[in-house]
Amino acid sequence: MRSFEYLAPSSLNELLEVMGDRAPNFKLLAGGTDLLVDLKHGPSGPKLVMDLGAVPELKGIEETPLGLRIGAMVTHSQIQQSALIAEHAPAMMAAAATIGAVQTRNMGTIGGNLVTCVPSLDSGPVLVALDAQVTVAGVHGRRVLAITEFFVGPRQTALAPDELLVDILIPTAMLGRATAFRKFGLRKGQALALVNAAASIAVDNDRIVEARIALGAVAPTVIRATDGERVITGRSTDDVGALREAAAVAVTETRPIDDFRASAAYRRELVAVGTYRVLEEALALATRS
């Protein structure tokens, strides 16, 4: 690895100050599972690496008046083991379990995962299905964005060069919302998603009153399939055909690519199957409760 300066600020303010001074000539080190690979094998190294491991404001999972707050530095393993997540947003556990392997989940963080903003991002779809918001901070202040606004393009987020992701909020209204997640990879462990899908459903009086469908790896960013959502909104919970219809419509909202992992045609098939399955599972959860 090429040499660089290393700092480990112990507070968010200290971190933001340095970021303000040094932007854009630094890299932030969260779990390191992507950054270290870049530092070793990437074309050119940064002058400064700032370790976020000692910044307390980026840690922790807690209930707040606005909803469930998840610090950007929370690891995938911590999500898998969190009682609060299990209670309020268990689909996040299902998504976390599909990321990398044990070692990468022990190191990798949800914030780091979102910031990479790759289309196949495994933590993205559930957060979109749960209408999550993110807080970003810079030396000039804080902003709150919808998760869908945070994702701008492949490897491109709404972060300015002197901003960082502080935390993720699942709004109170979405806590406990029936949500399901599926990932299709070439194998189970350590696989990038060919397609991943999440859905959340709210039911009232045997009708689907709100549905969110989120799809990954089939467009430049994680997307919401809003046309598919409209198909099932208002339909009866007994209307099994509605889920198939919604899945078929969701396929038309994707723009999958051909690559060495899968063809676009195969990805479209997976979208149809995956969307149907997450809707079916979310509906089952919604009607059970």
């Binding site: 690895m1 690979v37 690496v49 990398g100 392997a101 044990v102 462990g189």
Partner: protein, 167 residues
């Protein structure tokens, strides 16, 4: 240069390293603990797996400075030639390992699993090893070995081998 100090296999180790030094390289090159291997250098193969504060991690993807002040367990802390950890003993009985290059990481990953879950199912063992690649064996005997180790009294009593090898 950065001063780092960590408890490695129960022993305090110190070093002065440039920031870009990985945990793996300080273990192997500074402290001579060559049991952890460099296989892929990108966190895929798991040959460098060690425990940091009880969690299994890829030592090739951690900077030594990140681990300052923490506890590290490497394969060298898992029993030696004359005293095997039950996982190692089971691997030996079943000839679970062939070329041996993946073994240190696999033993550490298996320990991380058993510490939390002394009676894993086969599926749980497979999931725990997803980050440890082996090109020789096809994993069958490794999985059987871990399952067998979990039936050993030392594990079922919740006792594991310490750094010195004594239970």
């Amino acid at each position: 240069m950065h001063q780092v100090e960590m408890m490695v296999n129960g022993q305090v180790r110190r070093a002065e390293v440039p920031a870009e030094t990985t945990l793996l390289s300080v273990l192997r090159e500074t402290w001579g603990l060559t049991g952890s291997k460099l296989g892929c250098d990108v966190g895929d193969c798991g040959a460098c797996t060690v425990l940091v504060d009880g969690l299994s991690v890829n030592a090739c993807l951690l900077l030594a400075v990140q681990v300052d002040g923490q506890e590290v367990l490497t394969i060298e802390g898992m029993g030696g030639f004359d005293y095997l950890h039950p996982i190692q003993a089971a691997f030996e009985r079943l000839s679970s390992i062939q070329c041996g290059f993946c073994a240190p990481g696999i033993v550490i990953s298996a320990k991380a699993l058993i510490d939390k879950n002394p009676h894993p199912t086969e599926q749980e063992i497979r999931e725990a090893l997803a980050g440890n690649l082996c090109r020789c064996t096809g994993y069958t005997k490794i999985i059987e070995g871990i399952a067998e180790a979990c039936r050993a009294p030392a594990i079922t009593d919740g006792i594991s081998v310490t750094e010195s090898g004594h239970v």
